[in-house]
Amino acid sequence: MRVLLQNLTKKFPNRNKKEKEDVIAVNDFTFEIPDGKLVGLLGPSGCGKSTTLNLISGLLKPTSGKIFFGDDDVTNLPPENRGIGLVFQNYALYPHLTVRQNIIFPLQNLKGKNKLSKDQMNQKALEIAKLVQLDGLMDRKPNELSGGQQQRVAIARALVKIPRVLLLDEPLSNLDARLRLQTREEIRRIQRETGITTVFVTHDQDEAMSISDIIVVMKDGVVQQIGAPQEVYDNPSNLFVAKFLGTPPISIFTGSIKAGRLYIGNDNVCSVDIPDTAKVDVGIRPEGFILKEDGPLACKLDRVEVMGRDISVVSQHEAAQTTHIRSIISSDNKVDFGASQVRFSIKPNKLLIFDADTGNRITCNLQ
C-alpha cells in the first residue's frame, strides 16, 4: 500500500503555559512511501519521528495536512478503520493472556461478515506464529518469553489482520546488542515475505541504514533528507545529516577557499571549483583519510587503535571542530606509532563542504 503524507503538521500546546507558542512536533512533512517498502524514520530524540508514526497510525490527529493510504484519504479515520498494525516500543503485550490469545485478540474484534470461527482464528494465529517463528511457544505468557520473543509476538499481533501498513515504534530499543542485530534481520525478512509497506522509527542510524529501503532523517520536526541509505550517507544535504549518519562520526574542520584551493587551517588540501569563501565547514568521513607521507593534511598523532581488520588513527588538528579526529585505515598500512605527526591525503568523494552559516551542503568538484 502506497502511503502519502501531504504537508503533515502537528502542533502541541506548550507545557510551559507562560509561552503561548505551540510546540511544533512535525512541520510540513510531505513524503510518498512507495508500496511494499521498508522505511526508517531516523533522528535524535524529540525530532518528531514518533509523532509522525502516531499520525500515520491515527492515534494522533494532525493539526493540518493529509494522509492517504493508496487513494483513500484516511486523515480523519480512527485508527481501527485504517487497517494498520502497530508494534509499540515496549510491545504492550497483554500480560495476562498467552501468546496465542494475544495474537488472536485483534481477530476476536472482527464483526459481521468478517467474523471468524474459532478454528479459523487459531489457524490464522498459527500461520502468523510460524512466520515469526513462535509456533512452539503459543501457550506461554509474555513474561515467560525473552525480549526478542516478546518482540516477535508483538509483530505477530500487528500482522495477524494483514494490515495495509505496518508501523514499528523503536522496535529494537529494548533488546540487547546481539539480539538487536538478529531481530533487525528478522524484521527485514518478515517485511520481505509479507510485502507489507512498513514504517519504523529509530534513533539508531545503524539500525535504519542496515534494513531500510528508504531512510527519512528528521530534526526538530523538519525533514532533513529522504533517500536510500547509501545515497544519504554519501550525499548528505546538510551538516546535521552528515554528522548524524556514520560511525565513527564524520570529522568537521573549519576551512576556507582561496583561489580555487581548499584550505583546512593552513593546509592546502585540494582544488575546488567554488568561488573564494572566507569560512566553510569541511567534513571528512573517517574512511576518507589516506595515510601518505607527503599528504597535505598534517595532524598531531594522538594514539592508534588496532581493531583487527582496520586501524583507527586518533589525531588532532588545529582547525578541527572536535578535539579528536578519527580516521579508519586498512590494517595493511604500517603506522609509526611513535611518530608525533601523521599526514593524510583525502579521498575527494569522502570530503564534504558545507556553508558555515546555514550548514547546507555546497556541492562541487574536488580534485
Partner: protein, 297 residues
C-alpha cells in the same frame, strides 16, 4: 552462621514479645475459654470443658439474628461497594477538569468520624417529633408514605445500615482503584484501539485483569471488614442493638462481654471462634477463586 542466626532472633525479639503477649496469647486464651463452660474471669473458675458454649451460642436467638444481619450486610455491601467504587473510579479517571475536586469529595467520608457520619445519617433518616427526616421528605414528595428507617421495619433499618456501610467503605476503595486504573499503561489501550476493540471488551479483557490484584485485595479486605462490622450499627441504632434487632456478630461478642446482660466471656469466646471460622472459610474460598482470575504480573 549460627551466631548470625542468634543475632537475627535478638532483633526480632521486641516484635515477637509484643505480638506474643498481645496477640498470640489472647488468641490461645480465647480458644481455651470457648471450651470452658461458665468461665468466670473474676474467680478464674469454670464448670468443666466441652462444647456447651458453642451449643448455647448457636441456639441463642440474638446470635442467630446477629449472624443473619452480618451475612446480609456482607452479601449486599461488599459487591455493591466494590462495583460502585469501580464505576466511580472509571468515571474519575476518564474526566480531566475538576478531577481533583471530585476525588476530594469522594474521599471525605474516609476522613470523617464514623459516629459523626452516623449523626448525619440520623438526620437524613430518623423520624422525630418535628420532622420525618430528609429522605422521607423526598419519598413524600414523590407521593410515597413515610417510613421509619431507624425504629421501623427490619428491611428499612437494614437498608439504612447497608447504605451507610457502603457509603463509609467506598472512599478507600475509590482511592485504591483510581490509582490502580492510573497504573494501567496507556499503550495497552492504544493497542486495543488500533485493533478496534469495543469499549466493553477493553473493560472486561484488559482493564479488569490488569487491576485484578487490587480488586481482589479490596474484596478480601471488604469481606473481612464487613464481617467485623459493629460501630456502623451502633452509630445508627444506638447501643441496645439486640432490642433494635440490628446486632452484628462483633456486637453480640461485645454485648456478651460488657453489655447489660454481659459478663459471659465463654459465650463471647465461642462466638468469636465461630466468626473466625466463618472469615477463614470465606477468605479461603476467595483465595481459591482468585487463583484463576487474578493476574499478578
Amino acid at each position: 552462621m549460627e551466631r548470625d542466626n542468634k543475632k537475627a532472633w535478638l532483633y526480632l525479639l521486641p516484635a515477637i514479645l509484643f505480638i506474643g503477649v498481645f496477640m498470640i496469647y489472647p488468641l490461645i486464651d480465647v480458644f481455651i475459654y470457648s471450651f470452658e463452660e461458665g468461665y468466670n474471669s473474676a474467680s478464674q473458675s469454670d464448670f468443666g470443658t466441652g462444647t456447651f458454649n458453642f451449643q448455647y451460642v448457636l441456639r441463642d436467638p440474638y446470635f442467630l439474628q446477629a449472624l443473619k444481619n452480618t451475612f446480609i450486610l456482607v452479601i449486599i455491601t461488599v459487591p455493591m461497594s466494590t462495583l460502585i467504587a469501580l464505576f466511580i473510579s472509571l468515571g474519575l479517571s476518564s474526566i480531566k477538569p475538576l478531577r481533583h475536586l471530585y476525588q476530594t469529595v469522594y474521599f471525605l467520608p474516609y476522613v470523617t468520624n464514623t459516629l459523626a457520619v452516623g449523626i448525619v445519617f440520623m438526620i437524613l433518616f430518623k423520624k422525630t417529633a418535628y420532622s420525618d427526616g430528609m429522605v422521607n421528605l423526598l419519598i413524600n414528595w414523590f407521593g410515597g408514605e413515610s417510613v421509619d428507617f431507624i425504629d421501623g421495619p427490619y428491611w428499612a433499618k437494614m437498608f439504612v445500615l447497608c447504605f451507610y456501610t457502603i457509603w463509609v467503605v467506598m472512599p478507600f476503595k475509590i482511592l485504591i482503584l483510581t490509582s490502580a486504573l492510573a497504573s494501567v499503561k496507556e499503550d495497552y489501550y492504544n493497542a486495543a484501539k488500533i485493533d478496534g476493540t469495543p469499549k466493553w471488551r477493553v473493560f472486561t479483557k484488559i482493564t479488569i485483569p490488569m487491576i485484578s490484584p487490587m480488586l481482589f485485595y479490596l474484596i478480601i479486605t471488604g469481606f473481612i471488614g464487613a464481617f467485623k462490622a459493629y460501630s456502623d450499627s451502633v452509630a445508627l441504632f444506638g447501643t441496645n442493638l439486640n432490642a433494635a434487632g440490628m446486632n452484628t456478630i462483633v456486637g453480640y461478642i461485645y454485648d456478651m462481654l460488657y453489655g447489660d446482660g454481659g459478663g459471659y466471656p465463654s459465650y463471647a469466646s465461642a462466638a468469636a471462634i465461630i466468626l473466625f471460622v466463618i472469615i477463614l472459610t470465606i477468605t479461603c474460598i476467595n483465595l481459591l477463586v482468585s487463583r484463576k482470575h487474578v493476574h499478578y504480573s
